[in-house]
């Protein structure tokens, strides 16, 4: 792609925190994420003031549902509460359910490519522990077609992704035990990876393959058809920030830091597709297609086409494992296996931390946590860390190119970014 967009860095909050229990609000979450992120990148208030004076900087906030969880909208304006240096900076909030972070990233990269701005601060955030899990589950139902798929349904999303598990099983005529074992292994891998990530929600939680396979009963309750609690990502409070820049500014920034432009990775490709919103329509549309989620596959292909890269060039993946069934489907969407053969990659250790195509070294949504509006930005941050060799204990050795897949709804809004040096 022409007009490269660079990732200058960022930070995330500790996804283990419960901000309501701490007596803190969405605003505190926002403030800490922004202050920590800018400090980590090294973008000072004075620099922001200067860039703003020249109308070179914008703010892009990804958030799904602050209206319901925190009784607050208009989040694009909230950086002004963090620091007066943001007075006057153009900012807005972007929403696409669990892909809200990605739609904010996309809006930011578009403005940078067009050179409307030279610097973009992208923040993804969600505070979810303000309500009980059943009330929160109902809120999340608005990411589906609420009236048809969620109204009056307890925990609608586990049920929708439970149906995805059913369709995958039936469509590819898989052996049920082997398939469910593969889903359990996805859970085990994500939890195991999360233990290396000091910001992961489940880093001190217990999980192994045996427990993930023990579905049903009081310790691993079934929540959506075949799926049990261990197949699900958890309710999470969290925020992440990344700073993007076009070449105009990235060169300036590199000089200021005494480094080279090549020290910063670029967004090499991206894809964005929207599938029919109801799960039923998705299944009907994909009949006869090799992929059960053809629009997800198409999004990956679009990103590959734009980047000129392919599966073989990608060293590390961050995927949207809101449920084990969504990660399972992503494996073939990435082109790691043919559709219907995903379990082979899981069983052979291909997607494991030390495998050939590691997925979610951060722990993903299941291990690291899923504050819905923050997940896309968190994935971008993790890919940035991987390709700059700064992921610490969860660094995939020698990672040069990474790919992230972030989905909203029941794989409705699909976003892919390819990032590398």
């Amino acid at each position: 792609m022409k007009d490269a967009v660079y990732v200058l860095g960022g930070e995330q909050t500790d996804f283990q925190r419960n901000w309501t229990k701490e007596g803190k609000t969405f605003m505190s979450l926002f403030r800490e994420a922004v202050q920590d992120g800018l400090e980590k990148v090294g973008l000072t208030p004075d620099e922001i003031k200067k860039l703003n004076k020249q109308n070179r900087i914008g703010v892009f906030v990804g958030n799904f549902d602050a209206e319901q969880y925190a009784v607050q909208g208009h989040l694009g304006a909230f950086l002004t509460e963090v620091d007066p240096c943001f007075f006057g900076v153009p900012g807005a909030r972007y929403e696409a359910a669990c892909a809200s972070g990605s739609v904010a990233l996309d809006a930011a990269q578009t403005k940078l490519r067009s050179k409307d701005y030279d610097v973009a601060i992208v923040v993804g955030m969600e505070i979810m522990k303000t309500v009980s899990s059943s009330v929160g589950g109902d809120f999340l139902g608005t990411a589906a077609y609420y009236e048809k798929e969620a109204k009056g349904v307890q925990f609608p999303f586990p049920k929708l992704f439970g149906k995805l598990a059913d369709v995958l099983l039936e469509r590819y005529k898989l052996d049920e035990k082997r398939y469910m074992g593969a889903l359990a292994e996805i859970s085990r891998i994500n939890y195991a990876n999360a233990k290396r990530n000091p910001k992961a929600q489940t880093r001190s939680w217990f999980m192994n393959n045996e427990h993930a396979n023990a579905r049903g009963g009081e310790f691993n309750m079934a929540v959506g058809g075949r799926l049990a609690i261990t197949d699900c990502s958890q309710v999470t409070d969290g925020a992440a920030l990344v700073v993007l820049a076009n070449k105009n500014y990235a060169e300036e920034f590199a000089k200021k830091k005494g480094t080279k432009l090549s020290a910063y990775p670029k967004i090499k490709g991206w894809g964005h597709r929207v599938a029919p919103i109801t799960f039923e329509a998705k299944v009907a549309e994909s009949k006869g297609d090799k992929w059960v989620l053809p629009w997800t596959r198409q999004t990956v292909k679009d990103a590959f086409d734009r980047s000129g890269l392919n599966t073989k060039d990608i060293d590390v993946f961050e995927t949207h494992d809101c449920f084990t069934s969504s990660e399972y489907a992503a494996i073939s969407a990435f082109g790691i296996t043919q559709p219907g053969k995903e379990h082979e990659a899981i069983e052979d250790g291909v997607i494991d931390f030390h495998g050939k195509k590691p997925i979610n070294p951060s722990g993903g949504l299941i291990g690291a946590g899923h504050p819905v509006g923050a997940s896309g930005v968190r994935m971008m941050l993790d890919i940035y860390k991987q390709v700059t060799g700064t992921a610490g204990d969860y660094q995939v050795e020698g990672a040069k190119n990474g790919l992230m897949l972030n989905i909203g709804g029941s794989a409705t809004t699909n976003y892919v970014f390819v990032v590398g040096k």
């Binding site: 500790d14 701490e22 803190k24 233990k195 192994n208 045996e210 427990h211 023990a214």
Partner: protein
């Protein structure tokens, strides 16, 4: 060190024994002999273990047994013998003699003692046994509180210590704090210093709200989820007494006098009012005539329980508000500048906590990070070094400590200005421990 495949847990029916066995069976995938006075007690421990970590999958690895029938066989098969019997030499030493006879060379033996001398307990063993004998002090409840103080003594082998530390950290997921064989080790030495001094101050200000007042002053904005006297009530006044009596007898540091158990604690203990476990202690829950829950506190002078009042202390409200807005430095500025008795008490205890936490560096732990990690993961108290940063840096912290007429620890006196004093940001976000 041998690979740990089989473990014997002694005292497996208690909360700590069952919870620790669950950690070893789940994270360590070890076969665990769970021994208690009788096999039925051990079976109760198995159920506790399963419910503590919420997985049935460990059940096949948990084997019940009794000391009388099974100790020698279990120990002889084990790679690690984890002893959690009652906290006294009289109980632990005879058991250690039996373990010493039955253990194979190379077997790790450790105790969860929170205050006894590890070197003295190691005396029951031969040279190989001494080399492999440790304190592995887990905290309650083990699944949630991930601290493990790994206590060494002069007879240990550094290579074994390193391997055991790695096992506790990487396999069992513990936050490992290496401590010397000193009374109460790191967490309890710091924690119970503060708790006991709070208890002493509560008596001094008995006519102003006593226990309830001190806990209100030491609430969430001071970096703790549970106020200190509430914590004493939670752990039990008898346990508190055992720890501070030991510290009073065995230490002679600058805080020595603050380890003296207040008389009213002894009075409550003598009556059997040990805290939450016996229904009442420093606090008592009751119901009002209209059926609402009400918390009462023990009025020390009046020797009766009275309702906890809603204190209206403006600087605390303002500090809470600032914490609620993630303005930690702003909150500490409020505390630094506030006027009145309550503010004097708050400043004194913050100064004391920072001063004492950092004073044990060198004697108990090697680095201030070990002291910080112990308090953050064992007590859920904001680490002292984080306070230093929120107070405005070492110079400001030293000023607060000096005004409180407390000793300035070396590690703080030698600190360089201009860089963060708290170094565990990527391990433990200290901000999460301040409650608004």
């Amino acid at each position: 060190m041998r690979e740990i495949k089989t473990v014997t847990v002694l005292g497996a029916n208690g909360t700590m024994g069952a919870g620790s066995a669950a950690i070893v069976a789940a994270f360590g995938k070890a076969k665990v002999y769970m021994l208690a006075r009788d096999v039925n007690k051990a079976k109760e421990g198995i159920e506790k273990a399963i419910s503590s970590i919420k997985t049935d999958t460990i059940r096949p690895r948990l084997i019940p047994g009794s000391y009388d029938q099974d100790l020698e066989k279990a120990v002889s098969e084990s790679d690690w013998v984890f002893e959690l019997v009652a906290e006294s030499y009289e109980v632990k030493e005879p058991i250690n003699k039996r373990i010493a006879k039955a253990r194979k060379p190379g077997t790790i033996v450790s105790t969860v003692s929170s205050g006894l001398s590890i070197a003295r307990l190691a005396d029951a063993f031969d040279e190989d046994g001494k080399k492999h004998y440790y304190g592995t002090h887990f905290f309650n409840p083990p699944y949630k509180m991930i601290l493990c103080e790994l206590v060494t003594h002069a007879g240990n082998d550094k290579k074994v210590t390193k391997k055991l530390g790695e096992y506790l950290d990487k396999t069992l997921g513990r936050a490992v704090v290496y401590t010397n064989d000193t009374p109460a080790f790191a967490g309890n030495r710091i924690g119970f210093q503060l708790i006991n001094e709070a208890a002493i101050k509560a008596e001094e200000y008995s006519d102003k709200g006593g226990i309830a007042l001190i806990d209100a002053i030491m609430s969430g904005y001071t970096g703790r989820a549970m106020a200190p006297l509430d914590t004493a009530d939670f752990v039990g006044l008898d346990v508190h007494k055992a720890i501070v009596d030991n510290l009073y007898e065995m230490t002679k540091d600058a805080a020595h006098s603050t380890f003296k158990l207040p008389d009213y604690f002894q009075k409550l203990i003598d009556k059997g009012d040990l805290g939450r476990k016996s229904g009442q202690g420093l606090y008592k829950m009751t119901k009002t005539p209209d059926g609402k829950k009400e918390k009462l506190y023990y009025d020390i002078k009046g020797d009766l329980y009275v309702p906890v009042p809603k204190f209206d202390i403006p600087f605390i409200k303002e500090a809470n508000r600032r914490i609620g807005e993630a303005d930690y430095i702003g909150a500490m500025n409020i505390v630094k500048e506030a006027k009145g008795l309550e503010a004097d008490i708050a400043r004194y205890f913050i100064a004391r906590y920072v001063s004492y936490s950092l004073s044990i560096v060198g004697e108990v732990v090697e680095t201030k990070e070990m002291s910080d990690l112990a308090m953050g993961t064992g007590f859920n108290w904001a680490p002292a070094s984080a306070f230093v940063d929120f107070l405005g840096g070492p110079k400001e912290a030293i000023s607060l400590i000096t005004k409180a007429k407390l000793p300035v620890p070396d590690v703080l006196a030698k600190a360089k200005a201009g860089k963060p004093f708290y170094q565990l940001k990527d391990v433990l976000d200290a901000r999460s421990l301040f409650k608004g």
